[in-house]
């Protein structure tokens, strides 16, 4: 029987290694990928920034000259600056998954505005009052039993998306209806495919 010698193959395992290989051996592909991801994700971040109200939804949440408590005060500028996206490789999670790009809302006040009301059916945390014992942070210790509910009501409704319910980036993600996701996935697949195609015909050398 005729013996066939297997062709020399480039086999890159793992997403991180693939991105790293693209970055090192095909910088033009990496640049192209980043550009396409940027085009896909930037509108989402921009739209999400537009959802940030210029003033605090409640006067009591507005920033002031002195600090009263640890609860982060509403500051539109801080929230807007905390919204963005990255085309860098994400960290590998405990379950072994890693992301190729991320849209983030990293400010604490922004996260509160984004997600407040997702739990407890939009009624806020269970009220126990200021005199209740324990140190749980999953209960409301306000003097006003309806404080949590009023807070959530004033923030406006949550918008559902495939990535979860929210008011800023998740709302923008939902309104995008998967266009950005499709474009990003397409860009990633295209870059990987081009890289593997190139690996069959090209001798690689590490980029300077």
């Amino acid at each position: 029987m005729k013996q066939r010698r297997p062709a020399m193959r480039v086999k890159v395992e793992g997403v991180k290694q693939t991105r790293k290989a693209i970055r090192q051996f095909a910088p033009d592909l990496n640049k192209e990928l980043n550009q396409e991801l940027r085009i896909a994700l930037a509108p989402i971040a921009k739209k999400a920034k537009g959802f940030v109200p210029s003033d605090s939804p409640m006067s009591g949440w507005a920033g002031r000259s002195f600090s009263e408590a640890k609860f982060p005060m509403f500051n539109a500028r801080t929230i807007r600056s905390g919204i963005g996206f990255t085309t860098k490789q994400g960290r590998t999670t405990r379950s072994g998954f890693t992301s190729n790009a991320t849209i983030y809302n990293k400010s604490v006040a922004g996260a509160i505005y984004e997600t407040a009301g997702r739990a407890n059916n939009g009624e806020g945390q269970p009220w126990v009052g200021p005199k209740a014992g324990g140190a749980s942070k999953k209960v409301s210790r306000s003097v006003n039993p309806n404080a949590g509910t009023k807070f959530i009501e004033n923030l406006g409704p949550l918008t559902s998306s495939l990535k979860g319910r929210g008011r800023l980036i998740l709302k923008a993600w939902a309104q995008d209806q998967g266009k950005a996701y499709g474009a990003a996935i397409k860009a990633i697949d295209k870059a990987e495919r081009k890289f593997y195609d190139r690996s069959k015909t090209t001798t690689f050398s590490k980029a300077a």
Binding site: M1, Q3, R4, P6, E13, G14, V15, K16, Q17, L37, L41, I44, G82, G90, T92, G96, F97, T98, S99, N100, A101, T102, I103, Y104, N105, K106, V108, G110, A111, E114, T115, K163, G166, L168, I169, L170, W173, A180, Y181, A184, I185, I188
Partner: protein
């Protein structure tokens, strides 16, 4: 807390691979460790591996023998056929990842059907491709090919190779073989390149190694036991087993005897049963240990002592540092003290100034004496400081001068302390304190009082003069109603009076109520110029250098105040 939308998430298998590598590495290290410590685990593993190796060698040897027998039966065991077939199977095994345990029976089967080594090799290769493509076992495919070669094509249909019944029935075996070769070309090689194929190939390499090792072990046992053959080895192993059984039996007997002597239950239940026995029978090794312990203890004590000395030295160093810090602090305080010293100078100067002010307010001789005394003390202190400064400056002239000054001040102070002097003796002290008065008001008051007395003596009133701001009082030229006083010393006219005054030399010898013998100080009153029965006075006030307007204003104030007090009678034109 951050909210993220992750895009293009994929499973990164590198972590799992790393974990697998790590576990493999750990396993390997553990085995190495066990081997190094010579644990029974390592021995058991080696023995188990050796046992498996021997078994694999036996099985492989059996299959190889069967294949060789087949070749002999088919009259194909000539030339290099046997070696060719075995070599082909070995290569095929490594290339495809199929065990020779399967390949040899398949080859054996095909050889019996075809009676041709080359054809059998072709069919075995085809069988491997079909097996890889269909997922059937090599044994099953090779049986079907054998049957097909012998005319039973239906067996191939049951493999699901993609040939219809019509094709299988109407086609010859060569056509069917051609068709199958086309359909399953390269399947075995491709399968071998997969991960599973690689693992299978690795397994094969391991099994081959096992077989080789097994053969080596058997040979080694034969050689080590000086056996001539396997049968001889088996006989010796039987004898060895009997010997081991005897040994175990004797060991049990030994334990029984030991139990009767030492009461085994005691040791089994009371762990402290042997307590103290080590001290009763100290072996040579334990003596060495005790000696080493003693030396170690001695060294530890020396080390502890050394550590103590070091600690004491450290404490001393710390103490010295503290002392140095205290000295530095004292020096700092001394420096500050020098500043205070300067402050002393300042305070002395302020005190002297205060004494001068107090002197102006003194109303009795005792107060003046006290002020003089304090002033003298302050001067002495001041001189001491000046002398210290001079000594510090190492200037001989300054030192001598300061010493003289200090002696003089001490002399004055001593004189004051004895209180054997009159006020006049310390006048120089007070004079030095008194500032130069802009206007000597006392003299001025005295002069004005004398003038008033003089006017009263003359029996005339000074006429009020308006519109004049001169300091001199002039007559208005009117004498109507004026009282005429007699001239002093029996003079009948102003001219005689003046002559008398001139004869007196302007020196006051006695002040009488009628002012007869009074002659004003010529420095104070330049002259009396009688004009008829009136006098013109020119008062010169020794005021030093000053603002004329201020002087005039001061004079005016004095006159007005004297008028208010009633000490000035009559009117004075100012």
């Amino acid at each position: 807390m951050a909210i993220d939308i992750n895009i293009g998430s994929k499973l990164d298998g590198k972590g799992f691979k790393q974990a697998d590598t790590a576990i493999t590495k750990l396993n390997k290290n553990t085995k190495n460790l066990a081997r190094n410590f010579g644990l029974a685990f390592g021995t058991a593993a080696v023995l188990a591996y050796g046992r498996a190796s021997v078994r694999a060698f036996v099985a492989d040897d059996k299959a190889a023998t069967a294949l060789g027998t087949t070749l002999e039966n088919l009259n194909l065991a000539y030339g290099s056929n046997i070696g060719t077939v075995n070599g082909f199977i070995s290569r095929l095994e490594l290339q495809t990842g199929v065990l020779d345990d399967e390949l040899r029976p398949a080859m054996d089967r095909l050889l019996r059907a075809t009676g041709d080594v080359t054809k059998s090799q072709e069919l075995l290769g085809l069988a491997l491709d079909i097996a890889a493509g269909t997922g059937k076992s090599v044994t099953q495919v090779s049986q079907s090919l054998q049957k097909a070669y012998l005319g039973q094509n239906q067996a191939l249909g049951r493999l699901g190779v993609g040939l219809t019944k019509a094709e299988l029935t109407s086609s010859s075996f060569e056509e069917i073989q051609q068709r199958l070769s086309t359909l399953f070309a390269g399947q075995a090689t491709a399968a071998a390149d997969t991960y599973a194929g690689s693992l299978a190939r690795l397994t094969i390499a391991g099994n081959n190694a096992k077989e080789t090792i097994g053969k080596g072990l058997v040979d080694a046992l034969v050689t080590a036991s000086n056996s001539t053959s396997i049968d001889d080895l088996i006989g010796k192993i039987d004898k060895a087993a009997e010997s081991i059984a005897n040994f175990v039996r004797e060991t049990g007997e030994f334990i029984r005897i030991t139990k009767s002597i030492f009461k085994f239950e005691l040791f089994a239940t009371d762990p402290t049963a042997f307590k103290g026995m080590g001290n009763i029978s100290t072996s040579k090794s334990s003596q060495d240990t005790q000696r080493a312990d003693a030396i170690a203890k001695k060294n530890a004590a020396a080390l502890a002592k050394l550590t103590g000395v070091q600690a004491a030295n450290q404490a001393k160093i710390l103490k010295d540092k503290k002392l140095q810090a205290a000295l530095d602090k004292a020096n700092l305080a001394l420096n500050k003290g020098s500043e205070v010293f300067d402050m002393d100078k300042i305070q002395i100067a302020a005190a002297l100034t205060n004494q001068a002010q107090q002197l102006g307010k003194a109303t009795s001789s005792a107060q003046v004496l006290q002020i003089a005394n304090d002033t003298a003390r302050l001067n002495v202190k001041k001189s001491i400081l000046a002398l210290e400064d001079a000594i510090a400056s190492k200037d001989e002239a300054s030192i001598i001068k300061a010493t003289e000054k200090l002696n003089a001040d001490l002399k004055i102070l001593g004189a004051l302390s004895g209180q054997n002097v009159k006020l006049q003796d310390i006048k120089s002290i007070l004079d030095s304190l008194k500032p130069a008065d802009l206007i000597n008001l006392a003299n001025l008051d005295a002069a004005i009082a004398k003038m008033m007395q003089l006017l009263a003596l003359q029996g005339t009133k000074p006429s009020a003069s308006t519109g004049s701001t001169s300091a001199s009082t002039g007559s208005t030229g009117s004498t109507a109603g004026a009282t005429i006083f007699p001239f002093p010393n029996g003079a009948t006219s102003i001219a005689e009076t003046n002559a008398n005054v001139a004869a007196l030399g302007g020196v006051v010898t006695q002040i009488l109520p009628n002012l007869k013998e009074f002659t004003p100080n010529t420095g104070m009153i330049s002259g009396i110029s009688p004009n008829g029965r009136e006098f013109n006075f020119t008062v010169n006030v020794n005021t030093g250098i000053g603002d004329p307007n201020a002087i005039a204003e001061a004079i005016e104030n004095v006159l007005v105040e004297a008028n208010y007090r009633g000490t000035l009678r009559g009117l004075i034109a100012v």
